[in-house]
């Protein structure tokens, strides 16, 4: 595999810039970019999990110092996450064996990016319209206070930091879903976990980011080791280049992000996400120039 170090560094810095600017992990942009750059999807996904360890570690550390991590909730999410990651790595192996891994990765990305990109764009455009109509930003809509189906589930547990008395079932399931996504898609899963924690679990917003980073950090650590041990698809050198580019880009992105308005930022990110989704979707439906492909397994 012949790739250019500077291109990879630039990609890491570019995605790092966006993730710093928008306050997102960036795995869901980095993995497709690596695939566009002809890195085998299996390697892109597993290596990206390794990169996320670095970015989520420094993020989680900052939140840990500020005390904005609910360790008990994070641990429950983590238990689900490890189980999900183990399932994901096993599914990853069998899909790879069957020659369908690349396809499934692309389809998952098209579905997730398409959904999230559209939601973001619609929501931010609405917010921009409202802000214009009222002349200034209105406060975020109040959180719905009515009971939801989650409060009826059994096996309740008290989470002091989040001031919640909550069934562990949705917590474990959410952690598991994120773990599966981490291992099959090479994402942290913050884009699913954060909204789910806020709107479904009603976790106070000040601990949501820190707690999700805590979970993502350990799940991606587990995923990296599991992928490397089972599929040998982690590339340390590639990951290191992306990490260094990523942390540097993120610093500039964060400075830029403070100068722009929230809803404009979200609209922009929504457009970027949709563009990546369309490109991946196009590659699925366009007639390929080469219909045949090689899968290899070295005989020892």
């Amino acid at each position: 595999m012949s790739v250019n170090v500077f291109v990879l560094f630039g990609m890491g810095a570019g995605v790092g810039f966006l993730s710093g600017m928008f306050g997102v992990g960036g795995g869901f942009l980095m993995t497709p970019l690596l695939i566009f750059y002809q890195i085998p999807p299996a390697v892109a996904v597993a290596t990206e999990a390794n990169q996320i360890v670095a970015s989520s570690f420094s993020g989680a550390l900052a939140h840990f110092r500020k005390g904005t991590v609910d360790l008990k909730l994070g641990t429950m999410l983590l238990i689900g996450g490890i189980a999900g990651s183990a399932i994901g790595v096993a599914v990853f192996s069998s899909l790879r064996e069957a020659g369908q891994l690349d396809l499934i990765i692309s389809i998952l990305y098209v579905v997730f990016l398409g959904t999230i990109g559209s939601l973001m764009l619609v929501e931010s455009l609405n917010a921009i319209r409202k802000a214009r109509a009222r002349g200034e930003n209105d406060p975020a809509p109040p959180m719905p206070q009515q009971q939801n189906w989650i409060s009826n589930l059994p096996f309740k547990m008290r989470f002091h930091r989040s001031q919640l008395y909550l069934s562990v079932i949705p917590v474990l399931l959410l952690g598991m879903l994120v773990g599966i996504l981490a291992s099959i898609m090479g994402v942290g899963g913050g884009f699913i976990m954060v909204p789910a924690m806020i709107y479904l679990l009603r976790v106070p917003t000040n601990v949501v980011i820190g707690t999700s980073l805590f979970q993502i950090m350990f799940v991606t650590m587990f995923t990296t080791v599991a992928q490397s041990a089972t599929n040998q698809t982690v590339d340390i050198v590639l990951a290191l280049i992306l990490m260094v580019g990523g942390v540097i880009g993120a610093q500039f992105g964060a400075q830029m992000g403070q100068k722009l308005r929230g809803e404009q930022l979200r609209a922009l990110l929504g457009l970027i996400v949709l563009a990546v989704c369309i490109r991946l979707g196009w590659d699925l439906i366009a007639t390929p120039t080469e219909l045949f492909s090689l899968g290899e397994k070295v005989a020892h």
Binding site: Q51, S293, G295, V298
Partner: protein
């Protein structure tokens, strides 16, 4: 009379066997070290024709084919099909023990050196490779389109290379073959074989081994990734933690 006749022909036969040419070959280097900036290399294989028929040598009637084969591996060739509007991998064919790389150099076009029947029995050329079927299948049932695609895909990855005229004679009996090792050359023992042809007829073959190894940092990471994926993964995580920690120290806000 009859005995004398037989003896005469036996002597002729013996003489012709004795006079049959042979070849010797040697490699310019017996091992190749792959460093992190390895960008492909040329390897030279030297050889000489021994006991060549002077008349044939004069006519330049000897041809040489040199093949360098990478370690065998199992390969799956998959064909994409359109299903529900998207292209998915459909039919596939598995081949066992396919040379992971196949570099061939010849004095001239392979078809001019020998006929297809001989090339096929000697497994020379991309379309004549020995293909082993997985258990329960027969090599006779291979779909030609998959066999052709295997070679085409290997060529597109630079793993199958052909150099017509890649073997030249330095003297009437001394020859040199130049074979290319691509940047993505497979690691392991490669087998170099030289084939001697005399005016369209296969005469003899010789083989030798070439060891392709990674060295230094490349070797350490490669061996670790392939032999101890668990440890490699743990190191990958530690590298990530160190990078994340360093970033938080360098860019700390407070």
């Amino acid at each position: 009379m009859r005995i004398a006749f037989t003896l005469f022909w036996m002597a002729v036969l013996l003489a012709s066997v004795r006079a049959e040419a042979n070849i010797q070959i040697g490699l310019s280097n017996e091992s190749v070290a792959i460093t992190s900036n390895f960008d492909g290399a040329d390897i030279a294989i030297f050889g000489s024709i021994e006991d060549g028929d002077p008349a044939v040598l004069d006519r330049k009637g000897y041809d040489i084919v040199v093949v360098l084969e990478g370690p065998p591996s199992d390969v799956v060739v998959r064909r994409k099909e359109r299903k529900l509007g998207i292209w998915v991998n459909g039919e596939q064919q598995r081949f066992l023990e396919v040379p992971s790389s196949y570099s061939i150099a010849t004095t001239r076009d392979l078809e001019k050196i020998a006929d297809v029947k001989q090339l096929r029995s000697l497994k020379l050329g991309f379309e004549n490779l020995k293909l082993v079927a997985p258990e329960g299948e027969s090599a006779q049932d291979f779909d030609a389109v998959f066999v052709e695609s295997l070679a085409r895909l290997k060529v597109s990855q630079n793993l199958f290379l052909e150099r017509v005229g890649g073997v030249d004679f330095l003297s009437p009996t001394l020859f040199r073959a130049r074979l290319a090792l691509p940047a993505n050359v497979p690691i392991g023992h490669h087998r170099a074989r030289a084939f001697l042809f005399r005016e369209g007829q296969f005469v003899t073959t010789r083989s030798t081994l070439l060891n392709v190894q990674k060295t230094g940092f490349e070797q350490v990471t490669y061996n670790l990734a392939h032999r101890n994926g668990l440890l490699y993964g743990i190191i990958a995580v530690l590298v990530a933690i160190a990078t994340g920690w360093l970033a938080s120290v360098v860019f700390r806000k407070d």
